[in-house]
Symmetry: C2
Subunit: 110 residues, 2 copies
Amino acid sequence: MTTLTINEAAATTGWSPRMLRYVEQLGLVDSPRSAKGYRLYGPAQLQRLRTLRALLEEHDVELGDIGFALRLRREPELAEALDGWFDAEPRRPDREMPDGDWLAFEQDKH
Amino acid sequence: MTTLTINEAAATTGWSPRMLRYVEQLGLVDSPRSAKGYRLYGPAQLQRLRTLRALLEEHDVELGDIGFALRLRREPELAEALDGWFDAEPRRPDREMPDGDWLAFEQDKH
DNA sequence: GCCACCTTGACACGTCCTTGGTAGAGTTCG
DNA sequence: CGAACTCTACCAAGGACGTGTCAAGGTGGC
C-alpha cells in the first residue's frame, strides 16, 4: 500500500510538514496513524490535501474559513441559526409609524 | 419617528457606535441613510442588531465568521466548491497496515 | 548501535482582524 | 449662534492566524 510519512506527503502535496499537522489540527485532513503514532498518508489523504490547496488558491479563502465551514457542517444548529438570521424578514423600509410607538417584534421562528 | 441615530441605536442594542459602523462594513447590517449621510436605524435594523448579538453570544461565533457565512451565500460557487470538497469520496476505509511493513518507493512527482 | 525521521509542545515573528480613540469637517436643532 | 452629534479616515493596542524552528524523547531500518 502506498502510504507516505509526513515529510514525504509534504513533498508531494506542497504543504510543509508543519502545515500538515496544522491542517490536521483544524480537523480538515487527518491521516490514520501507525501503531506507534506516525501519521500515514494514503492516496485519499494526499488527494484531499491537493484539492484543499486548490480550493485555497482558486477562491480567496483561508484555512480558518474552511475550518468554520466544517464547523457549520458539524453543528447543524449553528448553521440553522445563521440561516435563520440571514433569512430574517427584511422588514419594509421604514414606514412612518403613527406616533412613535414601538411594536413588539414577532419572530418568525420556523 | 422610529428611526434612531447611531448613538441611540448603539445605546439600545448594546453595540458601540464604532462596532455598528464595523458591522455595516462587514455587510451584515447596513442602515438606510439620511439625505446628508447620517445612518438611520429603524426597528428592522435594531432587531437585526439584537439578534446578531444573540447569535454571537449563544453560539461561540465571531463577526468575521458570520461575514464568511455571508460570503458563502453571495458566492454559491464557493459554497459549492466547499461542499464538494467536504463530500469528496471518503475513499475505501483504507485498511490498517500491520504497521512497519511499508516499503520505500518512488514518489510520483506530479 | 546509529542516525535519520517522527511526535508533541513551545516560542517567535509578521500580518491581519477587532475595537477604541482622535481629528477635521459638516449637520441638527434648541 | 453654538453645543452636541455624525461622517470619514486614520493610528494603535491586543489578539488571532499562518508558519518556521527548536527541544526532548521515541521509532525505524541498516
